[in-house]
Amino acid sequence: MLTSAWTAQAAQNNTPRQMRNVHRTEAAAVDSDPLDATDARFLLTRTGFEANASEVAPYIGMTREQAVDALLAGARTEAATPPPAWVTEPIPSVEVRRAWTQDERRDDQREQGRRYEELRGWWVREMVTTRSPLTERMTLFWHDHFPSGEDKTHYPQLMFRQNALLRRDALGNFGDLLHAVSKDPAMLQYLDGAGSRKGRPNENFAREVMELFTLGEGHYSQRDVTEAARAYTGWTLDPDTLAYQFNPKIHDDGDKTVLGKMGNFDGDQVLDILLAQPETATFITTELWREFISDTPDPAQIAPVAERFRESHYDIKTALRGLFLSEAFWDERNRGVLVKSPAEFVVGAVRGFDLGYGDQDTTALAAQVRNFGENLFYPPNVKGWPGGENWINSTTLLARKQFIEQLFRATEAHGMHPAAANAKTSGMSGSMSGPMPNMMTNAAMKPAAMQRPHAGLRFDLDAWLAQYNTTPDARPNLSMQLQLQRAVLAVSPADAIEPDVTSSAYLRALLMDPAYQLK
């Protein structure tokens, strides 16, 4: 029964896609073809978050090049959302901290933990409201690439400043970003650079900067790590303000040999040696490929983009432009091959379905992002989040489905109790407060994860479906079903959908489908 239903559905689903494929092949994927709605939505979703119809509209009819240039031109360097007031509050001095009683110490712990929650909500708010989703995606990308986090950075002011730095250079210059982030106080704490000194340098940063930030594994030796670690000594923090400072007394100014170069290098000079290696451009371009194209980087297509990236002295837009205009990016076979990250899943749902939310709700949204396995400002380790298929396991998949289910429950409540739904934060009362998903109990999970976020998310299903000329209770015809599919899925649904259901049930089935996890 299931099988035959599926077969019928598959025929239904696949025909239009195959036709599209045929069309593409005949047209030899001419770059100057104007984008249709599906292409435009794909571009915006892949490079940002799921896009709603009003975001998609301006891109329809542009050439790929026009669209990509418009996207890059819209990049921002600062968040538009005002940060919490405490981000400018000075760090308590060593003397003040030493004088604290046990209770004061505990209060401080609690307060910083609360502020971290607030900071997560602030970032998620920026993600759901930004006019440049690409900027936030790149800021997330660099947060994952240059991870630092709450486990080693007690004061969230430092993580806020690092986040501002990552956004400032998100689509700027990679060399500038590398130099700046290497001296960033949160990074100096996260990879122990602040405690490294002449005589017995700490190798943590020296190793990770080669392995994870620039060259990639296999392009350096343990000896390079040991030598480079000596060059970074002296990059430290003012103990009172936790601001970066160079301390020449603990800097090792002797000769070092790093990657075949010898000299009495300081840290900046070693970073420049790393930037001079062609492997760095290839490594970063490959990481960007994995972020935006597929999990199977093609070295032959990456090489010319990496070459231009290097020639541009690491202009990030140059690399992105090369990737976004590559054949692989637009290839139909690469649609739906990437798994949405938790932030993309949550922020995408809010933006794509024009969900309403109250002022306090973005902190609850950030808690959802954490429940799906991505606790912002708290990466699991220096490699960042494992990502890709690792986002989906039995726990996180069920949590994601529960999120969708609650979204639809909210619309039912809306229909049945219009008065309640009009109240600003009660429309989806309890919507996110069902049994919390079975969470990972790893060290990264703070007790706060077990609190129930009360988000007043509101899904106006009538208004959303009206864009596709249908209503929740109407039974969509085949063409309408396909429109809905293309509006929310990157590929055809994998599961059978019962024929002859209402638009509301049809949309719910699409969002419960495994394909909805993909972009």
Partner: protein, 405 residues
């Protein structure tokens, strides 16, 4: 079509021979079944970050120990003495009854030739059971389950608790990650069984997960009258994950707490985070070793209650040990060998492997390799599960005398 058919159709499956005669899981004779095969459970405990072995199993009589560790070394009088030259960190006191019962084996000097000091590469080597210069895609347990499938009556190949990473179960094993079996069951109705061959690897992965959820929820469903454990579990994340692990085993048992032939899970993988102690190691490591020891003791208590103590092997592992010489930050940097703990009712307790000789460090100040970690895997595969380990590990490794004959 099931997932394995899919794998073999796409050619992703390597061909591994196994010796069916040596494998008793499918045997109709319960006695034989309990002696080898997947009726014997493996519980892996990952010490994530790389535990400092020299402050865990301490060569206190080696004069170089105090020289290398003037700051963070464990004082002689605090060491729990095991023999004339070896002792345990004081936080591991709870393990002493197990040690005295000779149900705790300590394998010293575990690593592999040409050790890699990167967390990620080294744990990948451990997880896939590869050589240092070899890149394998699948976890060593994934290959194991392909060579010898887990009986169909099992809830899953493995249950992963406390980590989102599948590690030795990556890329193909039917592993379910969970915290609370009751909540898991409640949510599992949102998943649908789907039969479909799928070429898109990301979609194929999600379909696999959906199917695993449906099956595991069915088998791990808490039932009225299910055996209730009396063991008190330690608090904290690690204690909670141990409790969950024990509840998973209880769910597949009879209401009287007796394991049922052909049901259960073959592997449980737990993770204890936080061993990457570059800075301020002493307090942090002591807290972690205490959690580990308390957890191990709780596991023994629960497994005895469940009648599974003789059919369970608990084994720690990690990407590497740490550098013998302490660093300037009151911590230790990445090193090579580490001791690992093996316990269970059939374990041959005592010190095994190669004790550290601190006078013989290599050019980077690290200890030479004593025991290849794949010898531990070979011991699980051979004596514990009754399989041909060469087929899974790609070459022959000597087993270790960790089990009583």
């Amino acid at each position: 079509m099931n997932r394995r058919d899919f794998l073999s159709m796409t050619g992703a499956a390597g061909a591994f021979a196994f010796a069916p005669t040596a494998f008793a899981a499918a045997s109709p004779h319960p006695v034989e079944m309990r002696s080898s095969g997947y009726g014997n459970v493996l519980i892996l405990v990952e010490l994530k970050g790389g535990n400092d072995g020299l402050n865990t199993v301490i060569p206190f009589s080696d004069p170089a120990y105090a020289t290398l560790r003037p700051g963070i070394g464990i004082k002689r009088e605090q060491v729990i003495q095991l023999d004339q030259r070896t002792g345990l960190h004081p936080a591991m006191q709870p393990l002493m009854p197990l040690w005295k019962d000779r149900q705790l084996a300590i394998v010293q000097g575990v690593s592999y030739p040409q050790p890699n000091l990167s967390h990620f590469r080294s744990i990948e080597i451990w997880d896939t059971g590869s050589r240092s210069d070899q890149y394998l895609h699948e976890g060593w347990l994934t290959r194991t389950f392909r060579a010898q499938p887990v009986p169909t009556g099992f809830a899953a190949d493995a249950v992963v608790i406390g980590s989102a990473e599948m590690g030795p179960l990556a890329n193909g094993a039917r592993a379910v990650a969970l915290v609370n079996p009751a909540q898991f069951e409640k949510q599992a109705r949102l998943a649908t069984p789907i039969s479909l061959k799928e070429r898109n690897p990301a979609l194929a992965h999600i379909l696999d997960v959906e199917n695993e959820i449906v099956k595991a929820a069915d088998r791990l469903r808490p039932r009225a009258g299910q055996f209730a454990l009396k063991t008190q579990f330690p608090g904290g994340a690690f204690g909670t994950s141990i409790k969950t692990a024990m509840q998973v085993l209880a769910a597949t048992d009879t209401p009287a707490g007796v394991p049922q032939t052909g049901q259960g899970v073959a592997v449980i993988r737990l993770t204890l985070n936080g061993f990457d102690t570059h800075q301020n190691q002493p307090g942090q490591q002591a807290a972690l070793l205490k959690q580990l020891s308390d957890g191990m003791v709780a596991m023994r208590s629960a497994l005895v209650e469940l009648g599974r103590w003789n059919e369970t092997l608990i084994m720690t592992y990690a990407e590497f040990g740490r550098r013998p010489r302490e660093n300037q930050s009151n911590g230790t940097d990445h090193g090579t060998v580490a001791p690992h703990f093996v316990m269970g009712g059939r374990v041959n307790g005592g010190l095994h492997g190669v004790a550290p000789e601190l006078a013989r460090l290599d050019g980077n100040g690290n200890l030479p390799v004593g025991v290849d970690f794949r010898q531990m895997y070979a011991t699980v595969l051979g004596p514990w599960w009754g399989m041909n380990s060469t087929a899974v590990l790609g070459q022959k490794f000597e087993t270790l005398p960790l089990l009583r004959a």
